[in-house]
């Protein structure tokens, strides 16, 4: 019996042989939103399961297996971005793209919104959006469309609701770069969701 092999994991849902069925899609969904690529997301989920089996002694019964696996996946994703060195030369990147970015959203003369990026009144409720799978597809599309350097920081803030200090340490960036990244990412995300969701649904 698997339960006997892992006595500290008391229910059958803790049996690693059940993990793919029970948690595979959940972990894959998080990974896909955060890394934007199906194969990479699958690999990260796979690695999560293997690491979890190896580290099963560290599992504490006061958290659920699902939450525990999600925490392992979260660390895997941070490692993945660190190894890829996505945030290398981020200061230079920010400087080089500053003008172009401003110009895409604002009139650089008077500092106002451009007519095409001006925030519109949204239709539909946010809660309803989150109950529809189509919304997650739009969300994934908008994250994927973002410049690569913004994604790791933005998703940590947006999906994990982490704060500046934690994220700066995780990705070894300065707080001033953090604010620029979050500002740009939020402008892009707001605009993309508006065009592809909030002005589309009724």
């Amino acid at each position: 019996m698997p339960e006997d092999r892992y006595p500290h994991m008391s229910t059958s849902s803790s049996d690693p042989a059940q993990w793919v069925n029970l948690y595979g899609d959940y972990l894959f969904s998080i990974a896909l939103l955060k890394v934007g690529n199906k194969e990479t997301a699958e690999d990260l989920v796979q690695e999560t399961f293997i690491s979890a089996i190896k580290a099963r002694d560290t599992f504490k019964q006061n958290s659920s297996v699902k939450t525990w696996l999600a925490a392992i996946l979260k660390n895997k994703i941070v490692d993945y971005y660190r190894k890829k060195d996505v945030l290398k030369h981020v200061t230079e990147y920010i400087d080089d793209t500053q003008h172009g970015f401003s110009e895409a959203f604002f009139d650089t003369g008077n500092g106002h919104w451009l007519p095409e990026t001006l925030p519109q009144e949204w239709h539909g409720s946010a809660d309803e959006a989150l109950n529809r799978n189509e919304f997650y597809a739009v969300l994934q599309y908008c994250i994927q469309k973002m410049p690569k350097k913004l994604v790791p920081v933005f998703t940590a803030r947006f999906l994990d609701n982490e704060e500046a200090d934690t994220i700066c340490k995780e990705f070894n960036i300065s707080t001033s770069n953090y604010w620029v990244i979050i500002h740009r990412a939020k402008l892009l995300m707001r605009n993309c969701l508006e065009k592809n969701w909030f002005l589309q649904s009724s």
Partner: protein, 93 residues
Amino acid sequence: MRLLSFLHRMIHSCEDATFLAVKKEEGKLTSREKTKLFFHLFICGICRRFVKQSRRLQKMGQSCHEKMHDHPAPFTLAPETQARMQEEIAKHL
């Protein structure tokens, strides 16, 4: 005159205001920045809308994670991928 045009630019930039608004969501504004944002939002309805929507997005991000945790996941693994993972797990048991 120069002071006036400086003030004008300082208060009128929607780019600066949205930057400060995002920073404010994490409670990281200096009192000088707070004042600047306050005056901008006083005169700019569009940025007030931005502030609301940006906060709403932040809440959505959080709920999105919770929803995925408590409800069927929005994205699914292909059956052959599931089978491959299953085999890999079996090797490590």
